[in-house]
């Protein structure tokens, strides 16, 4: 259980069902100082050398760590940049949070309000100058600058205020931030306003990667990053290609995370997923050493890819760590019975089929995602396990007892080819239960703007959210946080009891207890309020060339991570 949509049987014929892929959610624990020592644990058969070709559709928009929030960019950043902490792969599916630049995951004091990190010896910038605590402090300070608009904001808020950009405008005008102290070159102390037990997780975000004070070029840094990681960007043709070569000043002995086996990386952008996968399936010539970070097999090729046993060794798969939700607009959908009825009637299985079947999507039942939630507990409030294609009878019953037995629901969707089809399915199912669906396609560029308006005219719309570290603390307080235009509380849930509960859990210093509390709150919210429908959870199937070894999907980032990749001789 917990993985309701996981593939069941196997077979090679076109009319067949999808093959099994035993999937186990990752284990993520906190490592010790010993764990934090380099070098990284090599995957089986790993050798150094060679060039790996990475194919993907989109180039990376940001190299300045402070601007990075997107998994693809974070993933690339692992090659050229480091942070205080990071996740170390022990074996496949088994991870530990360890110190990256820091000797360990940090030492809390003052009830979790003060966090102290010590930098390792021998960590250097690409020009050989040592990385100092001054650099680390500078890196945090510059995230307050006005030109930084994209990266994470947790630590900034902890250090100053919710409206952190007002509190401090960055270091460029000579002012520094008092709440970060650097007693010496190796030590750095963060002083938060409130306790944060999960701070060591926060510092693992790529957004808190380091930038050298001496080489900071402000806006331009986004184009010309200074490497602290194993590689240096040799050439970058925007939206076209990137070439990486080794950073001679990176010492594997200091790095517990990055294997950095290939000598060179060549990255090509611009092809659609279909083409990339056709190339990878063909596996001819130079493409044998090719892989992709993010261009997983599109549904159109799933049957072929999963049905072909010769591809088994070049196939990776992992369900998404992101939550996908169909939010009810609580300002408009006032009757909880209607919301529950919709949950019961929801055509999860049909949507799954539209997306490519059980191999392409799992059907979770909880708000929090099992991949990114330490202490995950499943529940099934709307009978999805038994009736994944919708319990129309139950829905009708609920509706009959509700304030409006034949409601009309305005469903807004992001107008992409896939969402168009999903909409057809949703409409078809809900109408069977007597719910009229008015579907409104929204332009994909303005989709979030439109649904982000508090005064919108829609009843139901899709939205996604992913945890920033494996805990409910970066999910529930966000998607049920403050209601304002553009804020991700798309349900407009404003329940004082829930808010109080979230504040309480946030303040907990015991991480395990907090995780359990988040899980309980998850169920409570769905039970008492039902602000959303938990949607299908996509499963990525990713191919790589036959000469690529060590390819694994990072279950948290949902992307093939570069740390273990090597070229087979």
């Amino acid at each position: 259980e917990g993985n309701q949509g996981a593939p069941a049987a196997s077979g090679d014929t076109p009319g067949a069902t999808a093959p099994t892929a035993a999937y186990k959610p990752p284990t993520i624990t906190v490592g010790t100082a010993d764990d934090s020592k380099g070098p990284a644990i090599a995957p089986e058969g790993a050798v150094k050398g060679g060039t790996v070709t990475m194919l993907d559709r989109d180039d990376f928009s940001h190299f300045d760590p402070a601007q990075i929030y997107i998994n693809t960019e974070a993933n690339f950043n692992r090659l050229i940049g480091r942070a205080l902490t990071g996740y170390k792969r022990i074996t496949a599916g088994d991870f530990k949070l360890v110190g990256d630049l820091a000797t360990d995951t940090g030492t809390p004091s003052d009830g979790g309000k003060t966090w102290t990190f010590t930098l390792k010896d021998g960590v250097k910038w690409q020009d050989g100058t040592p990385i100092t605590s001054e650099d680390v402090k500078w890196s945090m300070e510059r995230t307050f600058a006005s030109f930084i608009t994209q990266g994470p904001t947790y630590v900034q808020q902890w250090l100053t205020d919710v409206d952190y950009k007002k509190a401090y405008q960055g270091p460029y005008d000579g002012k520094s931030l008092d709440s970060i102290e650097t007693p010496d070159d190796k030590t750095i102390v963060y002083k938060f306003k409130t306790p944060h037990a999960d701070a060591s997780y926060a510092f693992a975000m790529a957004g808190y990667g380091i930038v050298p004070k001496a080489k900071d070029t402000k806006e331009k840094y986004d184009k010309e990053p200074f490497s602290s990681g194993p590689y240096i960007i040799k050439s970058h043709l925007v939206d076209k290609s990137i070439d990486l070569e080794r950073n001679p000043n990176w010492d594997p002995a200091t790095d517990p995370i990055r294997g950095a086996y290939p000598d060179k990386w060549h990255m090509e952008f611009g092809q659609e997923a279909l083409q990339i996968n056709d190339r990878l399936i063909a596996d001819s010539g130079a493409d044998q050493t090719a892989m992709t970070f993010y261009a997983s097999v599109p549904p159109e090729r799933l049957q072929q890819v999963l049905g072909d046993s010769s591809l088994a060794s070049r196939r990776l798969n992992s369900p998404s760590p992101y939550g996908n939700y169909y939010y009810f607009n609580l300002d408009r959908m006032k009757d909880p019975k209607v919301r529950q009825a919709i949950n019961f009637a929801w055509p999860s299985k049909q949507i799954q089929q539209t997306l490519g079947g059980p191999a392409a999507a799992a059907l979770p039942t909880t708000i929090l995602n099992e991949n990114t939630t330490v202490g995950y507990q499943s529940y099934d409030l709307f009978n999805k396990v038994a009736k994944p294609d919708g319990d129309i009878e139950k829905a009708k019953e609920l509706l009959a007892s509700s304030s409006n037995p034949t409601p009309t629901v305005v469903y807004a969707y992001n107008q992409t080819p896939v969402q168009e089809q999903v909409t057809v399915v949703i409409k078809n199912a809900l109408e069977k239960a007597g719910i009229k669906v008015v579907a409104k396609p929204l332009d994909r560029k303005t989709y979030y703007d439109s649904i982000g308006k508090v005064q919108n005219e829609f009843d139901l719309y899709w939205g996604g959210w992913g945890a920033d570290w494996p805990s409910g603390s970066t999910v529930l307080p966000i998607i049920f946080g403050p209601v304002s235009d553009g804020a991700p509380n798309y349900s407009h849930l404003k329940d004082p009891a829930i808010t109080a509960e979230m504040d309480k859990i946030t303040a907990m210093t015991d991480i395990d207890a907090a995780n359990a509390a988040w899980m309980a709150l998850d169920k409570k919210i769905q039970e008492t309020i039902t602000p959303l429908v938990v949607a299908e959870n996509k499963i990525a199937t990713t191919l790589h060339g036959s000469k690529v070894g060590g390819a694994e999907i990072d279950p948290q980032q949902w992307i093939v991570q570069p740390d273990t990749i090597f070229v087979k001789p």
Binding site: T149, V238, K240, A282
Partner: protein, 326 residues
């Protein structure tokens, strides 16, 4: 001649400025806000304002257009990003790189794609057209006309997709389309673009065969062709020296239009073959609300059309002396 070129160039510049202005102002009618896109997942109003300022979107529309326009001629200063010298098309909203550089990086591919295909379809189209015209009603003529019709009726994405599948992925007859600069290795340049060339040629040859055939038939009935025959010119030189000259005029017009359209409208071809040319760039610009990039790709596309029109007109003067004076 020089006067003519001057006048046409002036006209072209006016056209381009109009197109640029239409693009620019329409862009702001699109209900998408590039600042919002630049601002990220969680974007409070102050940050939005900040992003807007960073992108220069907080100035009056007209002022923005003027500074964009003047940037092309005198360059422009960008806060934080430095000076962008003379033909400055701005910095991309998305990746903050100078747009011009990106365009210049992509243009060789799109031009190679177009020119290579054009050479093939022009030579093949005109040759088969001539043969068809000379063998009117014979089997070859019929084959040419039927195949040209089929060619004209299929679409790049249809043929392209199937060609990729059968010729590249299944049978490895041709290489995965890929661009290698001509200066780097002419052979791989040609090999890398062979498939798109063939597919484009397949589709375009048709039109040229048809045009050539019908104009050639017309030309063969012209009085001066009859005169040439009455002078005792051999059949070959009648066709190659006399009839072909007159045939080329309309063909060159179409070629000019096609070249312009191919460079400006390479979107589908590049999407089909996964090539990173200006077409793909333009699509990216559209989907990411990247105004400077969009403006630049529109300018390149429109510019190609306009420039080729002028080239066609100049070509006329070489082909047809009657045009030279007026």
């Amino acid at each position: 001649m020089l006067r003519f070129i001057t006048r046409r160039t002036f006209g072209a510049v006016v056209t381009l400025v109009i197109i640029a202005a239409v693009t620019f102002f329409l862009f702001f009618a699109v209900p998408a806000d590039p600042a919002r896109l630049a601002c990220g997942k969680v974007c409070p109003p102050e940050l939005l304002e900040q992003a807007r300022h960073n992108l220069g979107l907080d100035q009056p529309l007209f002022a923005q257009f003027v500074s964009w326009l003047s940037g092309i001629f005198v360059g422009r200063d960008y806060e934080g990003l430095g000076h962008c010298s003379a033909p400055c098309l701005g910095y991309s909203f998305v990746n903050k790189a100078p747009v011009l550089g990106t365009i210049l990086d992509r243009l060789p591919l799109t031009i190679s794609l177009t020119i290579g295909a054009a050479v093939i379809f022009f030579i093949f189209g005109v040759a088969t057209g001539i043969i068809a015209a000379l063998r009117q009603g014979k089997a070859l003529d019929k084959i040419a006309s039927v195949s040209s019709l089929i060619g004209a009726s299929v679409q790049i994405y249809f043929v392209g997709t199937l060609a990729l599948y059968f010729l590249v992925y299944q049978n490895h007859i041709l290489r995965q389309p890929k661009y290698v600069p001509f200066t780097e290795n002419p052979l791989s340049w040609a090999a890398g673009l062979l498939l798109p060339w063939i597919v484009l040629a397949l589709i375009f040859t048709a039109n040229y065969t048809r045009m050539t055939r019908s104009t050639m038939v017309e030309q063969l009935g012209e009085d001066y062709v009859r005169t040439a025959r009455a002078k005792g010119m051999s059949a070959r030189s009648v066709v190659m020296r006399f009839a072909l000259r007159g045939t080329l005029t309309p063909i060159v017009t179409i070629l000019g239009i096609d070249l312009g359209a191919l460079i400006g409208g390479a979107i589908i071809t590049e999407t089909t073959f996964g090539l990173q040319g200006v077409g793909q760039l333009s699509i990216r610009a559209v989907t990411s609300s990247d105004l400077p990039m969009l403006m630049a790709t529109v300018l390149v596309a429109a510019g190609a059309i306009v420039v080729f029109n002028i080239i066609v007109d100049i070509m006329y003067a070489f082909i047809d002396p009657r045009v030279r004076l007026s």
